[in-house]
């Protein structure tokens, strides 16, 4: 019944089915991942807030050369915009945006909006009215800041995230980024060191024992991160189980400080992420025939020699896959440092959350998230280049 003529059509419809099957997933990813991600990246350079609150001022400053004070039209536009903004209760948005240029101007905008007369018709000289409300209006700086903030795009968020803005606290986020990488790298190193013997044990015992050990390894994965972090708090705190045991065994006299510092963060992070290091290592060790080591030994290589020249090179894919997985997961940890760390141990996600929820500086939050994303991608690319993508094993 089937003829040659039918074949292309069948292949085509099979393709269509394939596409139809993948489409829901693709749409889902597009809607829940790529579009929000793009939106987030855009938010870090988006600068249309001020234009919405003070449209007249933005228009009046469009052709201003930035030297000295702008003309009376700009003063009038700013005054009218602020009166309107106060009525619509949106002056806070403009105040916040200008506060990113210099924090004192946040107050300038708010107090000017409050101080201006509600009856616009009564004002004849806007320049002196504004300067009377706050003398910052008499200096060029604030006008230059308004001109800079008129949008539609800005680099203010990215440059303050990278510490290029100047000022006493400007390097905050660069330090936090460095700290984030140091903590993630330390957790990765500890995880790999602990995972090596654990995976080796799993790969060398009989199937029943291996199943039991695997259960023990995976069980914590099914417990919420919040619960595991809090449990570590209970164990490690000053009068916690760990310190009490050490004291009752007379090993120490005064309790060790193990929480609200780096130690607590690393202990919990390592515990939470360890399974992700063990599993890839286990897979690569399991795939390695035991006879290879025996052959190496029988051909005269010592235990160390055969480990480093035969065994280790062949489990590198497992080490790199596990290491990469742990490292990337560790970069995004929020709740564990929050519960177990001090203020000096908070990682970048903490400041992203702070800027999103508390400071409501979404531009800066987006810039920080973008930087974290880009830095991770760069490190990944570098890593693939050094180790080779086929050896990453993921």
């Amino acid at each position: 019944m089937t003829t040659e003529k039918h074949r292309p059509r069948r292949a085509l419809s099979a393709n269509a089915v394939g596409i139809a099957l993948v489409a829901p997933l693709a749409l889902f990813l597009l809607a829940t991942f790529f579009i929000p991600l793009g939106g987030m990246l855009f938010l870090s350079v988006d600068d249309r807030e001020l234009g919405k609150v003070m449209p007249g001022t933005v228009a009046a400053l469009a052709d201003w050369d930035g030297a000295g004070l702008p003309g009376p039209a700009a003063f009038e536009a700013a005054g009218r915009d602020l009166v309107e903004a106060r009525k619509a209760k949106i002056a806070g948005t403009a105040a916040r945006r200008l506060g990113y240029e210099a924090s004192a101007w946040r107050t300038t905008i708010q107090s000017t909006a409050r101080a201006l007369p509600r009856d616009i018709a009564a004002v004849t000289d806007w320049k002196s009215t504004l300067i009377a409300a706050d003398d910052a209006w008499g200096k060029p700086d604030i006008w230059q800041a308004l001109a800079r903030a008129r949008g539609p795009l800005t680099d203010v968020y990215l440059s303050s995230a990278l510490g290029l803005q100047g000022g006493q606290d400007s390097t905050l986020y660069v330090n936090v980024l460095a700290r984030t990488f140091v903590i993630a790298l330390s957790a990765t190193a500890i995880c790999i060191l602990l995972a090596l013997p654990a995976a080796y044990l799993l790969a060398s015992v009989g199937p029943i024992t291996a199943n039991l050990l695997m259960m023990a390894l995976l069980l914590p994965l099914w417990t919420s991160v919040l619960v595991r972090s809090t449990s570590w708090l209970v164990i490690l705190q000053k009068n916690g189980i760990f310190n009490q045991v050490l004291i009752s065994l007379n090993i120490i006299d005064t309790p060790l400080e193990l929480v609200y510092n780096r130690i607590g963060v690393l202990v919990a992070l390592t515990h939470i992420l360890l399974p992700y290091a063990v599993l890839p290592l286990y897979a690569s060790m399991k795939a390695l025939p035991r006879s290879q080591m025996q052959a190496a030994r029988s051909l005269g290589a010592g235990p160390l020699n055969s480990f480093f020249r035969i065994y280790l090179p062949q489990i590198v894919p497992g080490i790199s896959a596990g290491g990469l997985l742990v490292f990337i997961l560790a970069l995004g940890y929020y709740i564990t440092p929050l519960l177990l760390g001090g203020q000096g141990d908070q990682m970048l996600p903490f400041y992203i959350a702070y800027n999103t929820l508390q400071a409501l500086n979404w531009g800066l939050a987006a810039a920080l998230a973008s930087i974290l994303l880009i830095a991770t991608v760069i490190l990944y690319a570098l890593y693939v280049r050094l180790v080779g993508v086929q050896r990453v094993g993921v």
Partner: protein
Amino acid sequence: MTPEMHYETINQERGITMKTRTAILHSALLASVLALPGVAVARDLTVVSAGGIFQDAQREVYFDPFRKETGIPLAEDSWDGGIGVLRTKVGAGEANNWDVVEVEAEEEALGCEEGLFETIDPPTVGGAERYIAGSVTECGVPANIFSIVLAYDGAVFKDGPKTWADVWDTKKYPGKRAFRNGPKFTLEAALMADGVAAADVYKTLGTPEGVDRAFKKLDELKSDIVWWSSGNQPMQLLGSGEVAMTTSYNGRIRGANAENKRDFKIMWSGNILNIDSWVILKGSPNKDNAVKLLEYLGRTDRQVEWPAKLGYGVGSVAAQAALPADVATTLPTSPEHIAAGITVDADFWVQNIDALNERFTAWAAK
């Protein structure tokens, strides 16, 4: 050939089996289910307070009787404060799931100014004269009167700290201290520890030098400070022995003593008095019921029960007058306690909370 078989054959010819058809149907179904959360559903009136034993007490005194008497379903949530959270919630539009929120003084003022709250018509909530003069504002009615105080364990320090300067003295009183995460209440305490008179605290904080002075004083203690954010934490930190002393909302201390048979003591000297308000978030779909709730919360028979629960004060004038003396003297509003401390300057924090939050975050991260 039966019709079914015929159908099967045709489909096979097209390269589609029943199985794949079902699979396509399932994925379409899955996609529509995933899209569902976007659909807005009418939700119950939601009241948001500080959680823990505080909200448990509010439930007993206010929320449960309200549910019983009015039959209006009332959902609860809790939060740790911060004007940014409210800005986000209101900015979320229909996705906002909060209606009535207990806020601190500067959050009330800032939020009202920024249009985050519905304005309140006093007669609809029982009239402004129900409350202490001036405490009903454009957007809020008084919810709770509390003091930020220092608490320590009487079993650890027989002779506890008497002033904020003592709190800074880690030789005389060894151990860590817990403070509320953020500049508010922390900078005030630092200045009082540095010898600024209670009456001059906000005058000093109002100058750049005063702020520098407060942060410099905090530097001295920084390595011994654990920061708390939710109202439950101070008593946990103190109870587990993690810290030797902590700032706390005054009522939590009494609650912890009663619940866990502890001997936590309060240092009233330099306490910081606050009035929290109830506000209704802008655009609440449950505004009518929210107003009903506010009116109910201010009733004298409810308010009079509140101080005895945890030791917090009330905004209702009639309830205050009806309090037995042995309760009234333990409250933050007793003349003795007011004289020993300061009252939070909401105007100062309205002007400065954003800038000082920023500075505090940078300082703490170092």
